[in-house]
């Protein structure tokens, strides 16, 4: 437990904000890893977060006796939440599935993807105005923007969707 009585009031408000930011960034990161079944990371984050909770937040809760501290508590919670999300996106662990539907440039996109070292599977499909190519390709999450840019340079009208995946079996994979 932290003894708040030794700290001047203005600093208490700031300390409440910072503690809540730290606690919530870890908690948000933990939830995002739980969703992606990252057990190891979730364990470590859960341990750290609940330790902060027991040591700091419980003593913060008994100090919520004025509006400034309450606002600091709320703002810290919200900010930590967003920092956790930003951290997770920055780390971008894992893979994403790109599904590309192109009416004319299918084979050029496949060649470009393979040239860049990604595995691509092409299927012929039927769209509104005839035959289209459906290309499936799994890429690292941190490469999504780069790959999307390459695709739009080849076919600006291609329909690209991104889904998250948990790969079970890697198959061909140079990336």
């Amino acid at each position: 437990m932290i003894d708040f009585s030794a700290i001047p009031p203005a600093l208490i408000t700031f300390a409440i904000f910072l503690l809540r930011v730290g606690d919530m960034s870890l908690d948000t990161l933990r939830i995002l890893y739980v969703i992606r079944s990252r057990r190891g990371a979730a364990w470590i984050l859960g341990f750290l977060q609940s330790s902060i909770w027991v040591i700091a937040i419980t003593s913060v809760l008994s100090n919520l006796d004025n509006l400034w501290n309450i606002v600091a508590y709320g703002a810290g919670f919200a900010t930590g939440n967003v920092i956790g999300m930003a951290l997770e996106e920055f780390l971008a662990i894992g893979h994403a599935h790109l599904r590309i539907i192109s009416s004319r440039m299918g084979s050029a996109i496949v060649e470009a993807l393979r040239g860049a070292g990604y595995a691509a599977t092409e299927v012929a499909g039927r769209g509104k105005d005839g035959t289209v190519a459906i290309i499936s390709s799994s890429v690292r999450r941190r490469d999504i923007a780069k790959v999307q840019k390459e695709i739009s340079q080849i076919d600006a009208h291609a329909f690209v969707s991104v889904e998250e995946v948990r790969p079970l079996n890697r198959g061909f994979w140079r990336a």
Partner: protein
């Protein structure tokens, strides 16, 4: 400044004193109301986090934590009798369900409906196109011969409606719904630009 501070302290204390002086039935109602409000916000915040919506996640996080600190903590500690306890649990569960129910309207985005139909693939694709959806069909092989695999992207809040339409077109169809993280390009996204 110091006086202002004391003044605010008094107001916060007033809220808590008022809560503690409530008659039992009203306390139970307040516990239920606060917990279901709190959980609605918390559920929405969690889903916003999963969908990567930072701005909205901040706002909901702020509301959730501030309301908790303002009064909820005091009320929710008031669980000495079984009725309050029941109100607490029911409020928690109700808020959770409310959050799930309104999330598809509140959080924009797209889902992919994937349909496998053994006999009525053409019909399903045509009807979906008639109602303005973008549809891509693939011929595939199932246990008893050729089947069609149909991809249809829809705004999140229309998934249930579209899925039930497909079910009436082909009651035997097999449907999965996938969460789409990002979407770009295609004639259909432009046509529905106002929706997301």
């Amino acid at each position: 400044m110091a006086e202002r501070r004391r003044h605010l302290e008094l107001e916060v204390m007033d809220i808590r004193a008022w809560i503690e002086a409530l008659p039992p039935a009203e306390t139970a109602a307040l516990i239920f109301g606060l917990r279901s409000f709190d959980l609605t916000i918390a559920t929405l915040r969690l889903l916003l986090v999963v969908h990567g919506r930072r701005g909205a996640a901040w706002v909901f996080g702020f509301i959730q934590a501030t309301s908790f600190a303002l009064g909820a903590a005091t009320v929710l500690a008031n669980l000495q009798n079984p009725i309050n306890l029941l109100a607490y649990a029911a409020g928690f569960a109700t808020g959770n369900v409310i959050g799930i129910t309104i999330q598809s309207r509140l959080i924009p985005g797209f889902s992919l409906i994937r349909v496998i139909s053994s006999h009525r693939g053409n019909l399903v694709a045509e009807r979906l196109r008639e109602s303005g959806h973008g549809v891509t069909e693939i011929a595939a092989k199932g246990l008893r011969g050729t089947v069609s695999l149909i991809y249809c992207f829809v705004p999140r809040h229309t998934v249930r409606r579209t899925a039930s339409k497909i079910r009436t077109m082909d009651p035997e169809s097999f449907m999965t719904v996938l969460n789409v993280r990002q979407l770009r390009g295609g004639w259909w996204t432009k046509a529905t630009d106002g929706l997301h």
